[in-house]
Amino acid sequence: MSNIFLIMFGAILTENFIFSRFYGCCPFLGVSDKPSTALGMGMAVTFVMTLSSAATYAVYYLLLEPFGLEYLKTIAFILVIASLVQFIEMFLKKYIPSLYSALGIYLPLITTNCAVLGAALVNIQDQNSFVESVVFGFSAALGFTMAITVFAGVRAKMQLSDPPKSFRGFPILLIAASLAAMAFSGFSGMKF
C-alpha cells in the first residue's frame, strides 16, 4: 500500500511530468493562457492517461512480451492510444455529451501527446504492476494538471506586468516556466 502512495507522490511532485521529466511541454506552453482552458486540458489528459496506462499494460504484457516484441513497444503504444482516444471520443459523444463538450477539442489534441506516451513507456521501464501502472498514469496526469493550472495563473499575472520589450511574449514565458521548474526541483530532495 505504501508503494502506491510513493508512486503517487513521486509522479505528482518529485518526478513531475512537466517540471522534472519535461514531458508534455507543448500543451503546457500552448494551452496555458487561461486557467479554465488549462484545467480542461488537464482533465482530458487525466482521463486519457489513466485509461491508456491500463490499455498499454495489457498490450505489452499480453501481446508484445509473449512474442518477444518489446522493441516495438513505442509504435504499438501509439497505435493503441490513438485508437483508444478515438473510441473514447465517440463513446462520450453518445453517452456523456456534457463531458464531451467539456473536454471538447482537447481530447483529439492529445491523441499521441508525448506525456501520454511517456507515461506508458515509464510504466514499462519501472516494471510497474497493473494497479501501479494505472495509479502512476492517473497521478502523473494529476501532476500535469496541477503544473499547467499553476502556470496559467502565473501567465495571468504576467499579462499585467510590463517586461522589457525584448522579453515580451514567448521569451518571458519560457523564463517563467524555467523558474517554476526550478522551484519544483526543490521536491527532488524528498527521495524515499
Binding site: V59, L63, F67, L69, L72, I75, A76, L79, V80, S83, Q86, F87, M90, F91, K93, K94, Y95, L160
Partner: protein, 274 residues
Amino acid sequence: MLKDILTPALIFVGLGVLMGALLAVATKVFHVEKNEKAEEIAACLPGANCGGCGYTGCAALAEAIANGEAKVNSCTVGGAEAANKIAAIMGVEAEAAVRMRAEVMCTGNHTNAIKKYKYMGVHDCVAASKLGGGDKVCPNGCIGLGTCAAHCPFGAIVIENGIARVDHKKCRGCGVCVTFCPKNVIKLVPYDKDVWVGCSSVDKGVKIKSYCEVGCIACRICEKNCPAGAITVNDNVARIDYSKCINCGLCAEKCPRKIIETVGRQEKLREEKK
C-alpha cells in the same frame, strides 16, 4: 530469420485490423443523429463566435435557427447575405436585416477633455470606471483604455489619443463593444446613416464647457436646422432618430461645436494621420 520478420508484421497487421474494426463498429454503435440543417446554416454564418446574436456562438445560433427558435436574420454580422442564404435553407422568406455599425458617442480625447486625476491602474475601462467613474471630469465620457477594442472580434476599434474610434469599414455591427463599455457611450446606428452625435453628456452647457471642448451644449441649432425633424435635444444632449434621418448632413455642418460627426470627417482625419 523469416519468422523474426513475419511474426511482428502479422501481429501489427492484426492489431491494426482489430483497432480499425473496433472503430468502425464504434462509429455505427455510437452514431449520433446530427441536425443537418444546423450544419448547413452554420456554414453560412461568419464563424466569428462574437455572441452578438445573444447565443453562445455561431453553432448555437445555427441550432436555434434550425429548431425555429431564432429568426433567420438573427445574425447582424452576416447581414442580408447570410439571412438570404439561411432563409433558402429553411425555406422561408427573409425579412430585411438592417446592417448596423457601432459608433462612439463621445469625442473628448486627451487634448480637449479635462481629467480629474491621473489614472495609473489596470489597463481596463471597467476597472477605471470603478474609481470615481473614470479619469475624465465628464461623467459620461469615453474612458479610452480600449476595453471595447480588446473585445471587438473584428478588430474594428482603435484608440486614438485617448478615445475609442470605430473603423466603419471593419465594423460588422455585432454589438459586443456595446455590452462591454462601462460608460455606455457606444451605440449601434444604421450602417447607411452618416451622422452621429459625438457626445453623451447630460450636464448643462455651462458645466460642460468647463471640462470639455467638444461637449454638446444643447443649443438646439441642429434641431432647428434638421429638414426631417430627426434631431431632438433632450436631457441637454442632441439625439438622432434614425428612422427619420435623411442623411443630408446639415446638422454636422451647422453644429457650432462640431460634435456631430460624419463618416466623411472621420475618414479625412484618418487620412491626415497617415
